[in-house]
Symmetry: C2
């Protein structure tokens, strides 16, 4: 298939590299020439895309607001599949389906990343075994969905989950966005400057995603404001329950709270 | 040196195994015979300790409340060094120093662990490169502190941090106890049962320590109630700030909050 990947950052370049490795003809489009040269040199793309002409698939691997704007403008060839990789799915879907189109939209969310961004962190193995979420709506084209399923396998994903954009956004508020909010909130304390030597693995793991790109994440948070706020407030209230029990030195109550958490955790891993 | 390790769980058996490997003569004391047999079979101890007689060092690797009780009772040989590995340090120190003793107390906290507990998870390499905190007070014996420093190196720790019990407890509230509270609070949601397929690495890392032994942790939380509550409330209030900014879709304010977190994170890693 002829595939144009627009945006050669960590995710875009990894999409390009893994699809090229799987035998597709991959063209790259990017604002900076440097990433194009890097991608060609590192065998991530076949050549630069000068237009979308003849593309079977266009992958938009761009920041959320730019993605939404391009989907609204809708300047893609008739019949081609346009797939975005944005971390929220309702806003891009709305942009794509708000007016009738001659191209076919499929929303996706590759559940993989790194703390470092940019093409230098990209790899054709980034998605190996990871989760791939695809969203569908009544307007979705079944053949386009089927093509994207094949591409997900070609990229190396381990599991494909299909759901509505709304369900995606509700789950992702918990499984991804809240992690970034909580990790960042966690480290925001004057004590963190003095805690070298006092940390084990749990602090490192808890705070790993604290220093992500705030502009991209702020866009994502605002595009999923309602679901995310609900999760933040839930976590905050649960912490207050812990503070009350610990303040009272009420071991029985603390144990009850922790057992409730463990039960949820085990339920999660039983199904996962 | 002749060392008695009392309590052959994950930490105790790893202390025993690493000290034996370093050439010390290590005896094990444990309620269940099974762990003694396992430790002898797996070369973690030389033999069972039938008493503390002749011990240069006694390591108490027991749950917090039992540790405090044994230190209060104080039935250790004259001159011997008694070292505990409890995750809080003010309570054991107070128990040890509340009356004059003929044995010498040194509080320690090996900053290493696993999600799994028990002797079967123990290893002579558990502490390789990890942080080791030792506490001292005006009553501490300098020669005992020096001996414990050597033992920490023998166990393979990478860095030794020395401070007061109060400072330890204040830092540990942030770097360890709050992680366990936050991870547990994080997963306590009906959504966690449905989120299989929607998770990347950040959710796994964020919730890794959620299912720890609630009884031991409840004891630790209650022994450090004040410092821990302060950290829980700080995190909870910070989350509320995020919720307010995200609820208002105020990207500038979200970016400011996240940049403050990033600055703390970077300050931490600059010093660590």
């Amino acid at each position: 298939m002829k595939i144009v990947v627009y945006g050669l950052g960590l995710i875009g370049a990894s999409v390009a590299a893994s699809l090229k490795k799987a035998g597709h003809y991959v063209l790259g489009k990017n604002r900076s020439r440097e990433s194009i040269s890097y991608a060609i040199e590192h065998d991530m793309i076949d050549e630069e895309a000068l237009s979308y002409e003849g593309a079977d698939v266009v992958v938009l691997a761009l920041p959320p607001r730019v993605t939404v704007r391009l989907l609204e403008e809708g300047a893609f060839p008739d019949g081609c599949i346009v797939m975005d990789i944005c971390g929220v799915k309702s806003a891009p879907e709305k942009a794509a389906f708000s007016v009738p189109r001659r191209w076919r939209y499929v929303g996706t969310h590759p559940m993989a990343g790194k703390e470092t961004s940019g093409i230098r962190s990209a790899s054709d193995a980034l998605f190996a075994g990871a989760n791939f979420v695809m969203t569908h709506a009544s307007q979705s084209d079944p053949a386009a969905l089927e093509t994207v399923r094949f591409l997900a396998r070609d990229m190396g994903f381990g599991r494909i989950v299909e759901c509505s954009a709304t369900e995606h956004d509700r789950m992702i508020a918990l499984t991804s966005q809240l992690c970034h909010v909580a990790a960042n909130a966690y480290v925001t304390t004057p004590l963190s400057a003095g805690c070298a030597g006092f940390t084990g693995g749990s602090f490192q793991d808890m705070t790993r995603v604290a220093p992500v790109d705030e502009r991209m994440w702020a866009e994502l948070f605002c595009m999923n404001s309602e679901a995310l706020c609900e999760e933040i407030v839930r976590l905050s209230r649960r912490l207050d329950e812990f503070a009350a029990a610990i303040g009272d030195r009420d071991e029985a109550r603390i144990c009850t709270l922790m057992r409730e958490g463990k039960a949820c955790y085990e339920e999660f891993f039983r199904r996962n």
